[in-house]
């Protein structure tokens, strides 16, 4: 659990970089800090593990005020993924991943096992990569090592600063999928920083949209999309609105507007939890059968689009 209460931070007398920020993130939840470059996302994150001291306000991690813990102890209980990896150039991949467990004085065998398990999960086969140095890896591989390093000690909280920032769009999508599929992240309290809207919607349980140090809106992705708190939020999301809406809406959300014909043969099954985006990908090749609340409907592309339009009215 991470909680911020009225946190502010100045650099110099004029520059209020973070302005009265409050939020709470529960275990199992991922809060995405979203915003333009320079709006104070990294600064907020760095106050949580005390790389910076807040100017005012309180920060709690697992119920304890961060100022009451020795900084080293606090930091070892929070995984940290940096904007530009920050891997130790003189450590091998496996040594990099083992840094925090070593600090926590795990025994060698346990560190070894943990490192190798993580490497396999992140598709960096230990046999090939364990003894390489960071400069021998591609940017994407380095970010995976950075992620593995943050996960290694199985800390209850995870701070991630643009963990997939340096990747090309394709790789970014695949690394993101791997990340989402990790069982490691269940039950962790995660704060993830990004300025990529699509990423925020895909990974965030809730999104905290910031501008110039202030929170503009905090809520579930659909809230920001369909119930924007102000013009900034609306215009921030506009460029990708259609795609976001398709991803935010599930078939079940449109159930009442979907036509109820049952005739066509030759259909593929689709779950009601699928997003419209995923459904459209399927429907381009053939109609699909969906079952929701003991009712079965067969849908095609036109029917889905009509339902979306109806829903938005």
């Amino acid at each position: 659990m991470i909680k911020l209460e009225h946190v502010s931070k100045n650099f110099g007398p004029e520059k209020k970089v973070v302005n009265d920020i409050s939020f709470e993130v529960a275990p199992g939840e991922t809060l995405v800090l979203l915003g333009t470059s320079g709006c104070g996302k990294t600064t907020t994150l760095r106050m949580i593990n005390r790389l910076l001291e807040p100017g005012s306000g309180h920060i709690y991690v697992n119920g304890k005020e961060v100022r009451q813990l020795p900084p080293e102890t606090l930091r070892r209980s929070i995984g940290y993924v940096l904007q530009n990896t920050g891997l130790f150039p003189h450590y091998t991949v496996s040594e990099n991943i083992g840094v925090v467990p070593t600090l926590l004085k795990w025994d060698k065998a346990r560190i070894h096992e943990r490192t190798f398990t993580l490497m396999d999960k992140l598709r960096l086969p230990a046999a090939d990569y364990a003894d390489l140095y960071p400069h021998q890896l591609s940017g994407g591989q380095q970010q995976r090592v950075g992620l593995a390093r943050a996960l290694a000690a199985d800390a209850p909280a995870l701070l991630m600063d643009e963990p997939f920032g340096a990747l090309d769009p394709l790789t970014r999508i695949s690394v993101r999928k791997e990340f989402k599929a990790l069982d490691e992240i269940n039950n962790k309290t995660i704060i993830l920083v990004t300025h990529d809207i699509e990423e925020a919607f895909e990974l965030g349980t809730r999104i905290c949209l910031m501008n110039e140090g202030r929170i503009q809106q905090i809520g579930a992705p659909a809230d920001l999309l369909f119930r924007p708190a102000n013009d900034f939020v609306r215009s921030f999301l506009n460029p990708q609105r259609l795609q976001l809406e398709l991803k935010a809406l599930a078939i079940k959300d449109l159930w009442t507007w979907l036509p109820a014909h049952t005739s066509t043969s030759n259909t593929v099954p689709l779950t009601a939890e699928s997003t419209c985006w995923e459904a459209l990908e399927t429907l381009t090749s053939s109609p699909a059968t969906v079952v929701y609340q003991q009712e079965q409907k067969v849908i095609d592309g036109n029917g889905l689009m009509a339902a979306i339009a109806a829903c938005k009215k």
Binding site: E72, G86, L87, F88, T92, V99, V100, L103
Partner: protein
């Protein structure tokens, strides 16, 4: 002692000494580098944390670096006396800047996102330093240590001037004695040491970063090992300690003569004549090889021991001039000869006393003397040619060169420039034969033994007669070098063994024989 024929002969004959000097040199270099690492690396680390201190610390180390090495050694003497202590401190101060600066730059050069990651993961400041900053800065720090080592191999040659030993003994002895073999026997090993150490340290520097982490702990051990050469036993059992100049150490009419003719057995240190007198006065040394007309003999109340077996040849000073120059300007010779017969031993000592001890300007002392002798005239037109007057770096030379300049400009229409401080005999004489200067004041004894290197039988037969020596060198120089000896000035600046007057009187020692008897008894 026979003069060895070839360089290799010299090395063979002096191998014991060469080894000792090389080990001392290595020890001096590394003990000072070790100290500089011990102080400089922590200082460099400190100033990465207290940026405001960095200006002061780097400034201090920078200033140390700009002080000329010989001056820095000189500053050390009043504080630490002579011998290895001041030499090590001076070398340490020289090594400091590259080590502090490279530690500072090395640590500051570590990628900030790496330090941020380390801190963010929960490394303490200490762990950050040892696990991240130092290993990553190590190549840069090692480069600093390399620079410091190479600098120190060079500067350590000067340690010979303050009785700390090292290869400088051969180098400066060789220069003073015009003995190329001896000079090279010091210079070549010194150069090789610099190359060797630089190479060894470069191996350490370029080693794989992974092993470098362990190397960090190995380094002090290696340095300590090399430093230990200096800790070789230095056993002096005698109550008397002699300090001789590098030149005196290698001369037949110096230490070699003392050994063979008088049978003197005494522990010796090699030391620069610039600090020798003061060291004797301060009881750091008991007997020194001075020159009889030196002003400091008077200043420090030393007593010259009588050379009762006549090993020190006459050293009458006279200007020596290129014949070519004399023919071009016939008016030159009479002008120079005006000084002849005006300065005896005690006057020269007095003049030197004014310069060496009262720190008066040699030019002023020269003028005052000429005015008192009614020899001074205002400069003439200076319209003809220019005469270049050289001198060695000792007091006599400075004063005489200035007198000659005034005489030339006063009594002829020539102008004159002085090029004083041309080092020892070899440098100034080479300058003369290579037409870099036209004249300089030289001593008959030096001409005989150092420049002409007269055969033993000749030396033995004429050495006790100053006139015969003068005639011999006059003929020899004319024949070999086309250089003319003008009339002697009058004083005899011979080598002399001297000790504190109070001690000499207490022990009833007045001659070298008596001194030898006293020392050898112990």
């Amino acid at each position: 002692m026979e003069t060895p024929e070839t360089f290799l002969d010299f090395i063979q004959q002096q191998s014991g000494k060469l080894l000792e000097q090389t080990l001392t040199h290595t020890g001096l270099t590394f003990i000072s580098v070790l100290l500089a690492v011990a102080i400089g690396v922590p200082a460099g680390i400190l100033i990465t944390r207290r940026k405001r201190l960095s200006v002061w610390v780097l400034g201090f180390a920078g200033v140390m670096q700009t002080i000329p090495s010989i001056a820095l050694l000189g500053f050390m003497i009043p504080l630490l006396g002579i011998g290895p202590k001041p030499a090590i401190v001076a070398l340490f101060l020289y090594a400091l800047l590259p080590i502090i600066r490279n530690t500072f730059t090395g640590i500051n050069g570590v990628d900030p996102s790496v330090t941020e990651a380390a801190t963010g993961m929960g490394l303490s400041r200490r762990q950050l330093l040892y696990k991240v900053q130092l290993p990553l800065a190590l190549p840069v720090i090692m480069a600093g240590i390399r620079t410091a080592t190479v600098i120190n191999v060079g500067v350590a040659t000067l340690a010979a001037y303050i009785a700390a030993g090292g290869l400088g003994e051969f180098i400066f002895g060789g220069i003073a004695l015009n003995n190329t073999h001896m000079m090279l026997a010091g210079a070549i090993p010194a150069a090789l040491l610099a190359i060797l150490f630089d190479w060894l340290l470069s191996l350490l520097q370029n080693i794989n970063v992974r092993k470098a982490r362990k190397m960090l702990y190995l380094l002090p051990v290696i340095l300590l090992g090399l430093s230990s050469f200096y800790l070789l036993p230095n056993t002096y059992h005698s109550k008397m300690l002699a300090g001789f100049t590098p030149e005196f150490m290698g001369r037949k009419d110096g230490y070699l003569g003392l050994k063979s003719v008088y049978g003197l057995r005494i522990p010796t240190l090699v030391i620069s004549d610039m600090i020798m007198y003061k060291a004797a006065y301060e009881k750091k040394l008991d007997v020194i090889s001075g020159s009889s007309t030196d002003g400091r003999v008077k200043a420090f109340d030393l007593m010259v021991l009588e050379d009762d077996k006549h090993i020190f040849p006459p050293y009458y000073a006279a200007p020596i001039v290129r014949n070519e120059t004399l023919q071009q300007y016939p008016e030159l010779e009479p002008a120079l000869n005006r000084l002849s017969g005006t300065i005896n031993d005690s006057i020269m000592t007095e003049l030197n006393y004014h310069v060496d001890y009262l720190k008066e300007n040699p030019e002023k002392v020269a003028k005052d003397f000429l005015v008192a002798q009614k020899l001074w005239k205002p400069a003439g037109s200076r319209s003809k040619g220019s005469i270049r007057i050289g001198s060695k770096i000792f007091g006599d030379g400075y004063i005489l060169a200035n007198m000659y300049k005034m005489l030339i400009e006063g009594y002829t229409d020539l102008s004159a420039v002085t090029k004083t401080g041309l080092g020892g005999t070899k440098i100034v004489f080479d300058a003369l034969t290579n037409n870099q200067i036209d004249m300089y004041p030289e001593y008959t004894g030096t001409g005989l033994l150092v420049i002409l290197q007269a055969p033993q039988q000749v030396t033995d037969s004429i050495i006790s007669d100053p006139q015969k020596v003068y005639d011999y060198v006059s003929t020899g120089f004319k024949k070999q070098y086309d250089i003319k000896w003008l009339k002697p000035i009058g004083f005899n600046n011979t080598y002399a063994l001297m000790m504190r007057r109070a001690d000499a009187e207490k022990l009833h020692i007045s001659s070298i024989s008596a001194f030898t008897h006293y020392v050898n008894q112990q």
